[in-house]
Amino acid sequence: MAPLLSIDNLRTYFFLDEGTVRAVDGVHLEIPQGKTVAIVGESGCGKSVTAFSILRLISPPGQIVSGQIVLHGEGNDVILTDLEDEGTAIRQIRGKEISMIFQEPMTSLSPVHAVGDQIMEAVRLHTQMKKSEAKAHAIRMMERVGIPNAPARFNQYPHEMSGGLRQRAIIAMALSCQPSLLIADEPTTALDVTIQAQILELMRDLQAEFGMSILLITHDLGIVAEMADRVAVMYLGRIVEEANVEQIFTQPQHPYTRALLQSIPGRGVQPGGRLKVIAGSVPDPFQRISGCPFHPRCEEAIPEMCDQGDPPGSVEILPRQRTACMVRREYHTSLR
């Protein structure tokens, strides 16, 4: 299927006094039309920065230093990375073609504006609707995302709503202009488990209804299993493995992916056995590691192969499964 969005060799760096943080360092990713792609990885590996880069929300000291992000529309492609900073073009894509929802429903809405007004603002910005129409539309959206008593809730302030309701309002806001891509950056991390399930179900329903693609950023492999069609595993600013969701869970290739899977309870672990913790910790962000970035923590690393030269590129070592690991690549070529 034709991709909706393709990211090619994206590099986004933060230039700080202490040094340069290579938050995203050569990411390739395609988001197919109408599907859900999940990005997983440890905290600080660059998931959010990737998402912000798509919407061009990176501001100094951060900068997209290279790479291309293309939004494939009907007939015409827009190269997002070439658009003028904060210009009209990118602003018309934000909220209309691509929307984003954030991790913290508590702080994602302005505390001094009524929730309904904030939803309506997106509608008014991107459509020709008059105020009354926009309001009606906003209330319809609020009803659609399951906010009870929407007309009354329209005038409420964020702090008068529970976290779950707020996140619903944010989803209503994000979807009010029917975007073709929804970026959800850890949409449920701050919510409790039952609400989490409701919100995820809502997102699935809305996807079925509106047909948008979703880029889902999460820590939670359970959510990945439930929601995603494709999964990208990220480590230190790179995607180390990308595959369909079943492949990730049944035949993980990259040692990092496997370590991730072993660290969740109930999977590959005997009841009563110990969870496996990934050895070592995330290297400091200013450091550059030669060879494979994961080799200092990797159990399978082979000296003189993994710790030298450029980081390994991502190669399709199994059908539809791309992995950036030299050991695995060698292994599979030797099998052939």
Binding site: L55, L57, E86, R91, Q92, I93, R94, G95, K96, S99, M100, F102, E104, T107, S108, L109, S110, P111, V112, H113, Q118, E121, A122, L125, H126, Y157, H159, E160, I170, M173
Partner: protein, 331 residues
């Protein structure tokens, strides 16, 4: 919420009562009273003082009664709007203050407006362009403004007004309007003199406000909701003014209530140096001469202003910030 307001209003009563007691006590602190210092001053110049006359004066001003009686009489008078008599001027305190209150208010309000008009745009600029050349400049100038004692500024402005603009040093009016009745001419004359006290009194406040505005806005700029609005496609300037600036302004707007009395009392020193016909110099003289009722009533008045101002500030904040409004309702 009305419950909250009522609570606050009721709480004002004991507060003011305690304040009046403390004010009176402070005024009573120095040994002796107005008459004793008056008499010793007269005796120094060699004049004789008629003991009987002194006795009569003492009676008239209740100085012979025990302190608590004096207090009760004074406080009782306050309740009826009677602020007592001034020894030195031999006139009711109310009249003396009344004459000066208009100019005091004008200066304070203009100063407040000046402070805001200058500080808020600069604060926004400094926050948005954090660490830029302009931010550093404003920060530096602001620090100097905070560090410079008011009287120095007053002297410098007076000197500039005098040597560059040929204005009479000090005061709010040119000599020809000094005692004239109010007219358009007098008013424009006032305006042309007003800039000195306004700059002098306002500078420190402006510098402080710039720092506060900058700090508040910096806190807000990095909040998630700003990013949400940006991700919605809101244009940059609109985004800035509608979201973070609006939130950052809340605490400032709500300070109006206590900033105003603050200006009134803070301007005392400036007013003395500039020789302004406002309440400040009156208070200073009264304190120095132990003009008990004048000083006591003025301290009381300024404190009452502060108490009321604080109440207004709290109510404003309640009205402006839905978060606090909500908590108030919860209680």
């Amino acid at each position: 919420m009305s419950h909250l307001i009522l609570h606050r209003l009721l709480w004002m009563i004991p507060t003011l009562l305690v304040i009046s007691i403390i004010s009176f006590a402070i005024i009573q602190l120095p040994p002796g009273d107005y008459l004793t210092s008056y008499i010793s001053a007269l005796e120094e110049t060699g004049e004789t003082v008629d003991a009987q006359e002194v006795e009569a004066l003492r009676k008239r001003y209740n100085l012979d009664a025990p302190i608590y009686v004096q207090y009760v009489k004074w406080a009782g008078g306050l309740l009826h709007g009677d602020l007592g008599m001034s020894f030195e001027w031999n006139r009711p305190v109310k009249q003396l203050i009344g004459e000066r209150i208009l100019l005091t208010t004008i200066i304070s309000v203009v100063t407040l407006l000046f402070t805001w008009a200058v500080a808020i745009p600069i604060g926004i600029y400094s926050a948005v362009k954090q660490y830029s050349w302009g931010d550093h400049l404003f920060t530096f100038v602001g620090f100097i403004g905070l560090a410079t004692p008011n009287f120095l500024l007053a002297l410098i402005c007076m000197y500039i007004g005098y040597s560059v603009f040929g204005m009479s040093a000090g005061g709010l009016f040119s000599p020809e309007y000094q005692n004239a009745a109010w007219s358009v001419g007098k008013f424009t004359d006032l305006l042309s003199h007003l800039w000195i006290p306004v700059i002098v009194i306002g500078t420190a406040g402006t510098a402080g406000l710039i720092r506060v505005m900058r700090g508040n806005l910096l806190d807000e700029l990095h909040k998630q909701y700003v990013m949400t609005a940006r991700a919605k496609g809101v244009p940059r300037l609109k985004l800035l003014l509608k979201y973070p600036v609006r939130v950052a302004l809340n605490p400032l707007i709500s300070t109006v209530g206590w900033v105003l009395p603050g200006i009134v009392s803070g301007a005392v020193i400036t007013a003395v140096v500039l020789g302004l016909p406002t309440t400040g110099p009156l208070l200073l003289r009264a304190l120095m001469n132990q003009d008990m009722y004048l000083a006591g009533s003025m301290v009381m008045m300024l404190s009452t202003l502060t108490v009321i101002g604080t109440l207004i500030s709290d109510l404003l904040l309640l009205w402006l910030d839905p978060r606090i409004r909500y908590e108030g309702r919860e209680r």
